[in-house]
Amino acid sequence: MFRNQYDTDVVTWSPQGRIFQVEYAMEAVKQGSVAVGLKNDSFAVIATLKRAPSELSSYQRKIFKIDDHLGIAISGLTADGRILCRYMRNECLNHRYVYESAMPVGRLVRQVADKAQVGTQRSWKRPYGVGLMSAGYDEKSGAHVYYNCPSGNFYEYKAFAMGSRSQAAKTYMERRGIGGGGERDAMTM
């Protein structure tokens, strides 16, 4: 992507119908360290590669437990990721308090996506610079893996990878054909 006159703020469209700020945010996800997720009927697994800012520092944590039935992996601006993690934990807690049951993963993911969309349509805000991969288990519908984009979209996947050099993981999973795998598959990746 080259710098151009339509990329100053998120409320400007380009003549080709693109919002560059959002695409730049997604670029930040691609530069982050890799995270991989996959599922079968009863398990959903996520794995990340931890990076350390320098040789002397500790590795940055990128997987967070949201609730007993749900966890996320982030790629990109980890600070943004922690904010979303806090939001998700809060929503899950509130749901548990009111309904005494686990929050359906799909609904929480949808709420996060709607929250991310707000950052793409306000002149005083910026998009979240983090890709969120959620792995969760609903009693009603089984295991799920979702991907949340800075653009405010979310997608459900059987298997997915994000971050730098994630294409290799994606190709490997496509070729191998995901479906009956369990925890071992994610370890292999």
Binding site: V98, Y99, E100, S101, P104, R107, D138
Partner: protein, 216 residues
């Protein structure tokens, strides 16, 4: 000298006493699901004013809620439950609220209102069948926010008159016929002994496969 300032109509906005009230609601588990019964009276004090009041509300295909106490508050609660169901419908993800979740939700609503000293003047009974596990569920929530679950539940006068019968004769593996006749016996006792009751009643049942059925 302390001067307390209250908005002028603060007192008018709290429920101080119920006006049009419903009578007991009874619910028992049986082999195939749950059974709920109540009469169709909306009493205005001692006057038997409204004789065709539906006090059982179908929330979704797996749950029904019955109420005794202030009818207008029950209508408000029915509205809230309908909003929840509509939300589920709009999500369109196959996830619907289970009886347990609805019970927990109503507990929180009623308890919060009681904490504001503005209660919803109802005793609610939530009954249904959990679609995943096929387990029957009966729960009760009072206007003070007290809640519990059991195999048989009754509100208002039913607590004193019907529950002894339930304790003696109700079993979780009763057949539908046995359950209906036990319920009718309980209703008969209530009609004899409770002064604000009429002999018109409805039965509602929830079963795992067939869902909700409410008689006329």
């Amino acid at each position: 000298e302390v001067i307390s300032v209250k908005p002028v109509d603060a007192e008018k906005k709290r429920t101080l006493s119920p006006y049009v009230t419903g009578n007991s609601v009874l619910a028992i588990k049986y082999k195939g699901g749950v059974l709920m019964a109540c009469d169709m009276l909306g009493a205005y004090g001692s006057t038997k004013r409204y004789k065709n009041v539906q006090r059982v509300f179908k929330v979704n295909e797996t749950t029904i809620v019955g109420a005794s106490g202030e009818i207008s508050d029950f209508q408000y609660i029915s509205n809230l439950l309908e909003e929840l169901t509509t939300q589920d419908f709009c999500y369109d993800d196959g996830c619907t609220l289970t009886p347990k979740e609805i019970h927990a939700y109503l507990c929180r609503v009623l308890y919060n209102r009681r904490n504001k000293m503005d209660p919803l003047w109802n005793s609610l009974v939530v009954a249904g069948v959990d679609p995943l596990r096929g387990e029957s569920f009966i729960g009760s929530v009072g206007m003070l926010g007290t809640s519990y679950t059991d195999s048989h539940v009754a509100t208002s006068f039913g607590n004193y008159l019907s529950r002894p019968l339930f304790r003696e004769f109700q079993r979780d593996d009763m057949s539908l016929e046995e359950a209906v006749s036990l319920m009718q016996e309980a209703l008969r006792v209530l009609f004899y002994r409770d002064k604000t009751s009429i002999n018109k009643y409805i039965l509602a049942k929830v079963e795992k496969e067939e869902g909700v059925a409410i008689s006329k």
